[in-house]
């Protein structure tokens, strides 16, 4: 059947089986695979999304039931390339290991903070009781949610470096570089181009940080 769904502010028209779960439509038809399936019975919370402001298990909801509602998934948290404060704190507090529970954790935490901007630790643990994690023991996750609500300011982890940020750090001083270029020229009989043809090196290199995930 034809369905019109609003996900992360975008309206989609999809053809789906009437008994398709919201989870299936998000993953298989909209390609939004950030929402995970861990148990298919509303126990692990990996599939948590926010529907009209409330956290629900998308494995327990038919897609038809989400018609006309505002659906927010993990893909909709970051705005204009800026991580949501919760995402940021999950990184800074080391709350992510295998990461399979992370999207659901983020959505449960987001729904909590939408209704309760300064939750107690107990509020946080109860809000996350339906999100299982096997890697972290929840300590870092609870701390990250506290931090996102301004209640903890001791981040543990270094944030990953933005591409290009480290580019200018290592610069050969001009005299040393000139001397080195001279040695190469003497050795090869050819003036080395590249780094030697202008005063510095960094601005001309089109430097990029390490590729994600390796080569």
């Amino acid at each position: 059947m034809q369905l019109v769904l609003t996900v992360n502010g975008t309206t989609y028209e999809v053809e789906a089986r009437p008994t398709a779960r919201l989870l299936d439509v998000l993953r298989d038809q909209l390609g939004l695979t950030g929402t995970k399936e861990g148990c298919a019975e509303g126990e692990c919370g990996a599939c948590t999304v926010i529907v009209d402001g409330r956290a629900v298990d998308s494995c327990m909801m038919l897609a038809v039931q989400a018609r006309g509602k505002e659906i927010l998934t993990v893909e909709g948290l970051a705005q204009d390339g800026e991580l949501d404060v919760l995402q940021q704190k999950f990184v800074e507090y080391g709350a992510v290991q295998c990461g399979y529970c992370t999207p659901g954790m983020l959505m449960s935490a987001k729904a909590l903070l939408m209704g309760n901007p300064v939750p107690s630790e107990q509020d946080i643990r109860v809000a996350l009781a339906g999100n299982l994690c096997r890697c972290t023991g929840y300590t870092a996750i609870v701390a990250a949610v506290k931090a996102a609500s301004g209640q903890d300011t001791r981040p543990l982890m270094e944030m990953p470096v933005e591409p290009g940020e480290l580019a200018a750090e290592a610069v050969t001083d001009p005299d040393t570089l000139a001397a080195a270029c001279g040695i190469v020229e003497a050795e090869t009989g050819q003036p080395p181009g590249g780094p030697c043809s202008s005063g510095g090196s960094s601005e001309m290199l089109g430097f990029h940080s390490a590729p994600e995930g390796g080569e």
Binding site: E75, T102, C133, L156, G194
Partner: protein
């Protein structure tokens, strides 16, 4: 090692954290290839029997169904899911892709391949299977009964072993204590279900995408079973949502590969939670009796153990697992005489196999619960008793004969006792009311790779890019706890660049060098040292090149911040990228190195853990109110992630002690089918776990680092059980300590007992 470290010991998130928090990372379960088919397993519904008839006609008539495979049209050669390299001992080829003789509820009988998952599921329900039922044996005691039906040719006693070391001392006047502890079958509960995608190529070769812990091992099993040359089978590791040992053995990979090979199509096999629970692998159930003799003042004279391990329907890795149970106690305590006999027994229950700690959580539960009984018998404090017997650094392991290395278990216990305020807490009365409080301690030991068992080694290459960034090429298998980051930090430390300027990918048999995989707590200690050495080699090449360019001897040069500098004239520094580009002019197109590293030792890693509990005597529910884990890690490469991994390991151990068990009913069916009835500890029941690191970097790992991931969960359950027994004055030893067991013990009612004690 006293040098200042710039990156080692810092706090780094897992390498793919940005993709994980945005939902962008493609896990195995998210992975697809165009035209991919979907497979659904059909599992035995009876614990023991023979398939008499399979009628696939109704299923195959369904539009979209490609074919149904079973023992009738699939190879029936035996394979071992635990065979990680071709020459491996202890491989039991007792399993086939599909069973004709089914041996447990959950045994694979058939698989449907169809164009969609929904169609495959629908078709699976239409396959009619007729069984001839055979009598089933559901416990090791039933299996070992004289007239028990044989589950495999050769009987139900799969494997027996015995070890005796040291001299039996004079036991005159010794205090003898006996105890028995049983540990449950548990589900690893990685949040991502098991998944595999395989593409059969028209050439007869194939590509397999797996979320397992060893691509070369997967290739061994698949290639041998399908009769393919190894180079035709390419296995690629995908990001995975946890493993905890549950994805260490090759269960669905050979099945999925066969389906893809037979159809010459791409096939995805994604299990559901119930299938993960009953049809993959469980932590095996064990029962261990311990008998010790010690002097009246608490010195161990003799330690004897007898353990029985329930292998379930197939052998998997359980014989080796059982053998390792013998190698734990003598890593912790000096014992003049140690004797251990083990039996591994087939039953008609889900298959046991690899699980985090590989026999250590099971054995440590038995030995450390026992140590508290000894302490009680001698009226000694449990910490005091342990301190009287613990090994010292550089002792030799009585059982393995290997040096224990810079073994700091004693320091862990001493420092932990202070940090936990053990003496004061232990002296506090448990209370007489409804809520009783207690504290417990336990020490655990584990290993660092497989040195001593076979030539433990790893391979790696490292190259510098033209811009001064680096690419490490090694067969890494990150289960989610930061293996890739660990390697990047190690390389970065050697080369003096930020870890984010070092790229490292995961394993791919076509492009990354041979490695055994993430097994046996070997990755940081062995693969990490390999990475360190290859980084040193690249550093040598960089220094050599820089020495020419700077006209300085290598000895005067150092590296830092992405440049080679003259040590006593740091202004004179040449950036790596300039070295790279100038080297290309000098006919050195790439600064790179490869290495093979052979491990030279296998020291022990230790953890001592302290638990405080409150027991509700009315409901039998236990709250773990405080927890301290002390970790002898040698050196933390990534401090934040070591702590985080410990916190998670404690979650698993608390579940092992209190909640988790996968029992079967009288018909052999698992009493659980999902997280609704299989409870892992959730956020409200987890204490904030404190982690205290003991760092002496005295061993041969990179920068002195030792293993973390497995040892972290080894003593947890024992510490919790000891705390409950302290609170209640009980001698509970059957895990998990469910409310039923606690209430029964408190009321002196029939406790589900260790039947062999």
């Amino acid at each position: 090692m006293t040098e200042d470290l710039q990156y080692v010991g810092g706090n780094y998130p897992v390498h793919d954290v940005a993709q994980k928090v945005t939902g962008e990372l493609v896990y195995g379960s998210d992975f697809s290839v165009p035209g991919m088919l979907h497979a659904k397993l059909i599992l035995s519904t009876i614990p023991h029997g023979v398939v008499k008839r399979i009628d696939t006609s109704r299923a195959e008539a369904l539009p979209g169904v490609i074919k149904v495979f079973s023992h009738e049209n699939a190879p029936m050669d035996g394979f071992s899911r635990a065979r990680i390299h071709p020459g491996q001992d202890m491989s039991f080829y007792d399993e086939t892709l599909f069973s004709e003789h089914v041996r447990f509820v959950g045994d694979r009988v058939a698989a449907v391949v169809a164009t969609s998952r929904a169609t495959a599921e629908k078709a699976a329900a239409l396959v009619e299977i007729e069984y001839e039922e055979l009598p089933a044996v559901l416990t090791v005691d039933e299996a070992l009964a004289p007239d028990a039906p044989a589950i495999h040719d050769g009987g139900n006693l799969l494997f027996e072993h015995e070890i005796e070391k040291g001299e039996r001392p004079d036991l005159e006047g010794a205090v003898v204590v006996s105890s028995c502890v049983s540990t449950p079958r548990i589900h690893h509960a990685a949040l991502e279900p098991h998944v595999c995608v395989a593409q059969g190529h028209s050439t007869g070769g194939m590509t397999v995408w797996t979320t397992s812990q060893g691509v070369y091992a997967a290739r061994t099993v698949i290639a041998e079973l399908l009769g393919l040359e190894y180079h035709r089978v390419r296995v690629i590791k995908l990001p995975m949502g946890g493993s905890f040992g549950g994805k260490t053995e090759y269960i669905i990979e050979p099945v999925c590969a066969f389906l893809a090979h037979a159809t010459r199509r791409a096939v995805k096999l994604l299990l559901d939670r119930e299938e993960c629970m009953i049809a993959t692998m469980v932590r095996p159930a064990t029962r261990t009796t311990v008998r010790t003799a010690c002097t009246p003042d608490g010195r161990l004279l003799d330690f004897g153990a007898a353990s029985t391990l329930d292998s379930g329907g197939f052998a998997a890795s359980t014989p080796d697992y059982s053998i390792h149970m013998c190698k734990k106690v003598t890593k912790i305590y000096r014992v003049p005489h140690y004797r251990h006999e083990g039996r591994v027994v087939y039953t008609n229950t889900p298959v046991g196999g690899a699980a985090r700690g590989w026999g250590a959580p099971e054995m440590i539960a038995a030995s450390e619960v026992h140590m508290d009984r000894v302490a009680a018998a001698l009226r000694l404090d449990p910490v005091e008793l342990r301190l009287k017997n613990m090994v010292e650094p550089h002792d030799t392991d009585l059982v393995t004969g290997l040096p224990l290395g810079d073994a700091r278990v004693r320091e862990c216990l001493e420092r932990g006792s202070v940090a936990f305020d053990w003496a004061a807490r232990r002296a506090r009365p448990a209370g007489r009311g409804r809520i009783r409080r207690g504290v417990g301690v336990a020490a655990g030991a584990h290993k660092n790779g497989m040195y001593g068992a076979f030539p433990e080694a790893s391979n790696a290459s490292l190259k510098m890019n033209e811009d001064g960034t680096f690419v490490l090429n090694a067969s890494l298998h990150d289960t989610g706890c930061g293996v890739v980051t660990t390697m990047r930090v190690i390389v970065a430390e050697v080369l003096g660049v930020h870890p984010d300027l070092v790229a490292a990918g995961e394993a791919d048999t076509a492009t990354t060098p041979f490695d055994y995989g993430t097994y046996g707590s070997r990755v940081t200690y062995v693969v990490g040292e390999c990475a360190r050495i290859v980084a040193e080699k690249v550093k040598d090449r960089l220094l050599t090149a820089a020495a020419d360019l700077l006209q300085e001897p290598v000895e005067r040069l150092g590296v830092a911040d992405g440049a080679v500098h003259v040590r006593d004239d740091r202004e004179r520094a040449i950036a790596y990228r300039d070295i790279a580009r100038l080297s290309q002019m000098r006919h050195v197109p790439s600064i790179a190195a490869s290495t093979t590293y052979y491990a030279v030792s296998n020291p022990a890693s230790y953890s001592v853990q302290f638990a405080e509990v409150e027991v509700d005597c009315a409901t039998g529910l236990v709250a773990v109110t405080d927890f301290l884990a002390v970790a002898d890690v040698g050196r933390a490469i990534n401090r934040g992630m070591v702590e985080a991994q410990y916190q998670g390991a404690v979650q698993m151990g608390i579940g092992y002690a209190l909640y988790e068990h996968l029992d079967v009913d009288e018909k052999g069916r698992a009493g659980v089918d999902g997280f609704k009835n299989y409870h892992i500890v959730n956020a409200p029941d987890m204490p904030d776990v404190q982690v205290l690191l003991v760092e002496h970097e005295g061993d041969d790992g990179p920068f002195g680092a030792k293993s973390v991931g497995e040892i972290a969960t080894v003593p947890t359950a024992a510490a919790v059980v000891n705390a409950v027994n302290n609170a209640l004055g009980t001698e509970l030893g059957d895990l998990p300590l469910t409310p039923e067991r606690i209430i029964a013990a408190l009321h002196g009612e029939e406790v589900a007992a260790c039947s062999s004690c």
